[in-house]
């Protein structure tokens, strides 16, 4: 159940598996891209896809409580909290930057979740946990894409290569839409978890391609490799998404007139 629903979202893959996949996948990707040299910078993009997957699942879970038009706002708040946590973590943390950013993001998310439930009285039971998850996913998406762009998460590199150049804007909006769009684009009573998460991977691959385009002018990162792998992931994910759409649709027709009342009954 989703659109206008009021219960917890169900799905084939357990939520804890996705948390593990997102958190570990993103951190491993970010650290590998940082330490393994310029050719490994695409791993930052893979890490970002893992965190986007997690973020999209968290949005799906919290939005199933009848959030409706609030879905895009949740995605935007994820990256809003993420920008603060990521810059803070990388600025003070040094080599432990991403881990500190994750901890800080969890604290911001908990605070925002508590405010949403106590002050705004939204009364969503999983709000506090979901906000923390969405905040961490947004933070890891930002760091992952930054590493894919400049090849390192050293604060000086990120500051000159990502923030001062304005590329942080595209990370913010592309990462945010990759987290919010999968559920928003699949909204409806027959929404399925695998289709939504496949959309998340497909949109994550697009953010990876964009990061690869930026990496093309940075010596520390490999643009071509990131773009090629991003396009390959996008193609596989989109093909799977289309298969799932054909599986889930009532009928797929080339063209046709509207069904009449007898057919609808």
């Amino acid at each position: 159940m989703s659109a206008g629903g009021s219960g917890e979202a169900a799905g084939g893959m357990s939520h804890n598996t996705i948390i593990g996949l997102g958190l570990l996948g993103a951190l491993i990707g970010i650290y590998a891209a940082h330490f393994l040299g310029s050719y490994a910078s695409f791993l930052g993009g893979i890490g970002a896809i893992a965190s986007i997957l997690w973020g999209a699942e968290s949005v799906r879970r919290v939005s199933s409580y009848g959030l409706g038009t609030g879905v895009p706002s949740i995605g935007m708040i994820a990256l809003g909290m993420g920008v603060v946590a990521a810059t803070f973590g990388l600025a003070v943390g040094g080599v432990a930057g991403p881990v500190i950013a994750v901890i800080f993001a969890a604290l911001i998310g908990l605070l925002v979740g508590l405010l949403a439930n106590t002050v705004l009285k939204m009364g969503i039971p999983i709000m506090v946990q979901s906000m923390a998850e969405i905040s961490i996913a947004g933070t890891l998406t930002i760091i992952g894409l930054s590493v894919a762009m400049v090849g390192s998460f050293t604060f000086a590199d990120v500051l000159t290569g990502v923030i001062a150049t304005g590329y942080i804007a595209v990370i913010f909006i592309a990462g945010g839409l990759a987290i919010l769009h999968p559920f928003n684009g699949n909204l409806g009573p027959d929404e399925k978890q695998d289709r939504t998460l496949t959309t998340a991977v497909e949109k994550g691959a697009i953010t990876m391609i964009i990061a690869g385009i930026v990496a093309a002018v940075n010596a520390g990162a490999s643009g071509a490799l990131t773009i090629i792998i991003g396009v390959a992931i996008w193609y596989i994910a989109f093909s799977r998404f289309y298969k799932l759409v054909k599986r889930d649709s009532f009928s797929v027709v080339g063209t046709g007139l509207l069904p009449n009342e007898e057919e609808l009954a």
Partner: protein, 303 residues
């Protein structure tokens, strides 16, 4: 900079903004994004299956910010490789428009598939015919926004980098398009089967007009209708936003003295006050010309 050069650049930006505003609104109308989308989404549930594109990427501000930020990013990368300005802005807009196309397709396919229980069919010809139109409109919007942002950075010397400016203008054009043009489609076009100005009665929810001037109505018909008023009006609104917000700082240049800066703020406040009074006068004139709502009249008669 010479004030006259500044005004010339501003006029060019205003012209680009007017085109961008019109194409932005028509782009959202072909796919029924934003305001009209809730009724397109609701229709199958109320037993009104349709052949209208359901482009629920997100609200218009984020989706336009996305394509403009991508365009600005790709253009900046190409400019860094010493590509010519026109080539850089064109390829940037092309990449942005293609990515916008993938978002449009995934939202339409995804939302229709999630309406299985209401027996809404997925018409592939709608996807194949409408997506290129959406891509084309979004290309025009993005390149106009990039022209505005590029002129601001290079000629007017704005301190923000190109991707960030494009992002901000993307949010702005999405907000203007969402609030100005969509009403024309969402409140009028979708409910041409009820009396003009009657508002949306709850019992009419989802009962959108699905038969066209010829055949079954689709997004093309809606953009044809909106191109008569909603699109141009959005263009004028966004053109005015870009022109007037630039005009006050071009005429009263804050970089010359602090007093000039305050004069520009004052000029902005005066413009806002004039527009507010003007809007109020239009509303009162319309209310006098078309009268109160039918319900209110009935209530008066009964009393």
């Amino acid at each position: 900079m010479e004030p006259l050069t500044g005004m010339g650049v501003l006029a060019l930006m205003g012209a680009a903004a007017t085109i961008a505003g019109a194409s932005e609104d028509l782009e959202s109308d072909v796919g029924s994004q934003s305001n009209p989308n809730s009724q397109v989404q609701l229709a199958p549930q109320m037993m009104y299956p349709h052949r209208i594109y359901n482009k629920a990427i997100s609200g218009e501000p984020p989706s336009n910010a996305l394509m403009c930020a991508i365009g600005g990013t790709v253009a900046t990368v190409l400019l860094g490789m010493n590509a010519s300005v026109i080539l850089a802005l064109t390829i940037g807009s092309l990449v942005a428009a293609m990515i916008h196309g993938t978002f449009s397709v995934s939202s339409h396919l995804g939302r229709i598939a999630s309406q299985n229980r209401f027996k809404q069919p997925l018409y592939l010809d709608i996807v194949k015919s409408h997506t290129p139109v959406i891509i084309a409109y979004s290309f025009i919007t993005t390149i106009c926004i990039l022209v505005i942002s590029y002129l601001m950075v290079v000629v007017l010397g704005h301190p923000f980098p190109l991707p960030l400016l494009a992002f901000i203008w993307g949010i702005t054009i999405g907000a203007v398009g969402s609030s100005t043009g969509d009403v024309h489609y969402g409140a009028e076009r979708e409910f041409q089967n009820v009396e003009f100005g009657s508002g949306l009665n709850a019992s009419n929810s989802g009962n959108i007009v699905r038969k066209g001037e010829s055949g079954v109505r689709n997004g093309y018909d809606n953009s044809w209708f909106c191109a008569k008023f909603g699109g141009p009006v959005t263009g004028i609104a966004f053109g005015m936003v870009v022109f007037l917000s630039g005009w006050i700082t071009t005429v009263f240049d804050a970089s010359k003295s602090a007093a000039m800066g305050w004069e520009s703020v004052l000029a902005g406040v005066i413009i806002v006050i004039i527009l507010a009074i003007w809007n109020r006068k239009i509303e009162v004139a319309a209310r006098n010309a078309y009268g109160t709502y039918k319900e209110d009249q009935d209530a008066e008669v009964a009393a």
